[in-house]
C-alpha cells in the first residue's frame, strides 16, 4: 500500500473538496446558461425517477409495515395502539421517507452516474466531448443533477405514501385497527412544518447524491479499476453525506420552523 505524508494527505483532501465544490457550483450555474439540454434532462429524469420507482415503492411499503409492527407492542402496553397511524406518519414523512429513499437512490444512481461518467472519462469520451466544443458539465452533469433533485422530491412523496399504506395494511390485518382511526390519527399528527421538513430534505439529498456521483465519475483515473473505485466511493460518500446532512438539516429546520 502506498504511504503518503500527512501534508500530502491534507493537500489531496483539500483539493478534492475544492474540485467537488467546482462540480457542485457549475452544475447549478449551468442551469441558467445556454445551451440547455432539456432532452437529456428528461431522459435522466426517466432513468433516475421512473427507474427507481420499484425500489422506492418496496422500501417505503416495508418500512411502513415494520414501523407498525415494532411500535405496536410498546403502544399496546400503554393502551395506545390507536396511535400507530400517528407514529407511522410522523416517522415516515419527517425522517424515514426522505432518508431511506435517498439511500436507495444513492445506491442505485450515484453508482450509476459514477460508473457511466467514469467509463467515459477513462476512454477519453469526456475529452472528446470537450474537443468537439461541448461542455461536458453542461451536457452530462447539469441534466443529472437537475433530474435527481426534481425526481427525489416526487419519489419521497411516493415513498411516504407507500409507508403509510404499508403501516395501514399491517394495522388493519394484524392489529385489528379501524381504517378511519388509522388514517385520522396519521393525518392529524402531521403539521405543516413536518411536511415542509419532509419535502426540503429530499431536495438537499438529491443534490448530494447527484453531485457526488458526478464528481467521482468526472475525477476517475486509472482504467476499469478506477471506475470500480469511483463507483464504490460515490455510494459510500453519498450515503454518509446523506446521514450527516440529515442531522444538520433536521436541526436547522427545527430551529427555523419553530
Amino acid at each position: 500500500m502506498e504511504l503518503i505524508s500527512p501534508a500530502d494527505f491534507v493537500k489531496r483532501n483539500v483539493l478534492a473538496v475544492q474540485d467537488y465544490y467546482a462540480v457542485a457550483t457549475r452544475s447549478i450555474s449551468n442551469i441558467f446558461r445556454r445551451p440547455r439540454y432539456m432532452a437529456d434532462m428528461i431522459q435522466q429524469a426517466d432513468l433516475i425517477g421512473v427507474g427507481s420507482l420499484p425500489i422506492v415503492v418496496l422500501t417505503g411499503t416495508f418500512t411502513g409495515v415494520v414501523l407498525a409492527l415494532n411500535t405496536s407492542d410498546t403502544l399496546q402496553r400503554f393502551g395506545s395502539l390507536s396511535l400507530t397511524g400517528q407514529l407511522v406518519s410522523l416517522s415516515m414523512v419527517k425522517e424515514l421517507g426522505p432518508v431511506l429513499t435517498s439511500l436507495m437512490v444513492a445506491g442505485r444512481n450515484a453508482s450509476g452516474m459514477a460508473s457511466e461518467l467514469g467509463s467515459m472519462k477513462v476512454t477519453e469520451q469526456i475529452d472528446a466531448m470537450r474537443a468537439l466544443g461541448t461542455d461536458p458539465y453542461k451536457k452530462l452533469v447539469t441534466p443529472r443533477v437537475a433530474a435527481t433533485v426534481f425526481m427525489m422530491f416526487f419519489l419521497t412523496i411516493i415513498s411516504d405514501l407507500m409507508g403509510l399504506i404499508g403501516g395501514y395494511i399491517y394495522s388493519v390485518a394484524m392489529l385489528r385497527l379501524d381504517t378511519y382511526q388509522y388514517w385520522n390519527k396519521a393525518y392529524q399528527a402531521l403539521t405543516y412544518n413536518d411536511i415542509l421538513t419532509g419535502l426540503i430534505k429530499p431536495i438537499v439529498f438529491g443534490f448530494i447524491i447527484s453531485t457526488i456521483g458526478c464528481y467521482y465519475g468526472m475525477s476517475t483515473k486509472g482504467g476499469t479499476q478506477g471506475v470500480g473505485r469511483s463507483t464504490t466511493q460515490a455510494v459510500v460518500a453519498s450515503s454518509v453525506m446523506i446521514l450527516a446532512t440529515d442531522v444538520l438539516v433536521s436541526q436547522l429546520l427545527l430551529t427555523v420552523l419553530r
Binding site: 467509463s119 467515459m120 476512454t123 475529452d127 472528446a128 470537450r130 474537443a131 466544443g133 461541448t134 461542455d135
Partner: protein
C-alpha cells in the same frame, strides 16, 4: 523572447506555435521548453518513445491540458490564457482523432459523426447530408446505424476521422491513428490521412509510433483518379509538405523534413530511424 501574452505575428502563416512549453504530472516532467511550429497546410509527424509527451502535445493544442510554462498559439490565439468557454469556440476549428477513437459508446455512428453539427442545431437534412459525405470519405456509409461496439478497431478509427473532418476544420490532430491495427488496416488509415492532406490541405499534427507511416506520408501522394496513393516521382517531396519532429527526454531533438532526417548524425535519431 516574447512576453507570455504577446500576440502571434504571423498567425496567417502558422497554424500552431509552441513557445518554450513545459508540463509535468505528479512530479514527473513530460515536456521541457518545447518549441516548434506547424505552418498552414503542413503535416507534421511526431515521433518519440512511449511516454515522451506526444499525446500531451495534442491535448495542449486543444487546451484540454494547461502547460506549466510557455505559450501555445492555435490559429493565432494563445490557448494558455483562454477560458474554457473561449476554447469551445476555437475547438470548432480543430478536429482530433483520439488514440482509441473515443467514440461515444451509447450513440450510433450517425450520431457520433453528427455530434458537433447536432450541438450547433443544424437542420436535420443538412446534418444527414454531411454525415453521409463524411462517411463516404472514409468508405463507411453502410455503418451509419451501427453502434461503436459493433465496429472493428480500424472501422472505429475511420469513424473517428469522419467525426473529426465533418466540420472541415482548419487543423487536424491525429493521436496514433494506426496504433494497434494490422498492417492492411493501417495502410487504409494512412491513405485516408493522405487523402485529407492532399484534397483539403488541412494543417495536421500526427502522433505515431510507426516510422513507416511517417515515411509513406512523406513520400507518397493521393491519386484521386486511381483512388489510391502513389509514390512521388522525381523526389519532389516538398509538395506534400510533410515534416517530422522527434521528442527525447522531454525535448525536441529533431524538427525538419524527411531529407534532413536522413542526414542527421545524432546517434539517437540514427538508431531511431534505422
Amino acid at each position: 523572447m516574447s512576453s507570455p501574452n504577446s500576440p502571434l505575428e504571423n498567425s496567417e502563416n502558422e497554424a500552431i506555435v509552441f513557445r518554450d512549453v513545459s508540463i509535468g504530472f505528479d512530479g514527473l516532467q513530460v515536456l521541457e521548453d518545447v518549441s516548434f511550429q506547424l505552418r498552414r497546410g503542413e503535416t507534421k509527424i511526431l515521433f518519440g518513445v512511449a511516454g515522451s509527451g506526444k499525446s500531451t502535445i495534442l491535448k495542449l493544442c486543444l487546451g484540454l491540458l494547461r502547460p506549466d510554462k510557455g505559450n501555445i498559439f492555435v490559429l493565432g490565439h494563445d490557448v494558455t490564457i483562454m477560458t474554457e468557454e473561449q476554447l469551445f469556440e476555437l475547438r470548432s476549428k480543430v478536429g482530433i482523432v483520439f488514440q482509441e477513437s473515443a467514440l461515444f459508446d451509447s450513440m450510433n455512428v450517425h450520431d457520433n459523426v453528427a455530434f458537433r453539427l447536432m450541438e450547433e442545431k443544424l437542420p436535420e437534412n443538412e446534418v444527414d447530408r454531411r454525415v453521409k459525405e463524411a462517411l463516404r470519405f472514409v468508405e463507411l456509409e453502410h455503418t451509419v446505424g451501427m453502434l461503436p461496439s459493433e465496429l472493428s478497431g480500424g472501422m472505429r478509427r475511420r469513424v473517428g476521422i469522419a467525426r473529426a473532418i465533418i466540420t472541415q476544420p482548419e487543423i487536424l490532430l491525429y493521436d496514433s491513428p494506426t496504433g494497434g491495427l494490422d498492417p492492411i488496416t493501417s495502410t487504409t488509415i494512412v491513405e485516408l490521412i493522405m487523402k485529407q492532406r492532399d484534397e483539403s490541405h488541412t494543417s495536421s499534427l500526427l502522433v505515431s509510433h510507426r516510422l513507416q507511416d511517417g515515411f509513406v506520408l512523406a513520400s507518397h501522394s493521393y491519386d484521386p483518379v486511381a483512388k489510391h496513393m502513389k509514390a512521388i516521382e522525381n523526389g519532389d517531396h516538398s509538395r506534400v509538405n510533410t515534416t517530422f519532429l522527434i521528442l527525447k527526454d522531454c525535448r525536441v531533438i529533431f524538427d525538419g523534413t524527411a531529407e534532413e532526417l536522413g542526414q542527421v548524425q545524432d546517434p539517437y535519431v540514427r538508431e531511431y530511424i534505422s
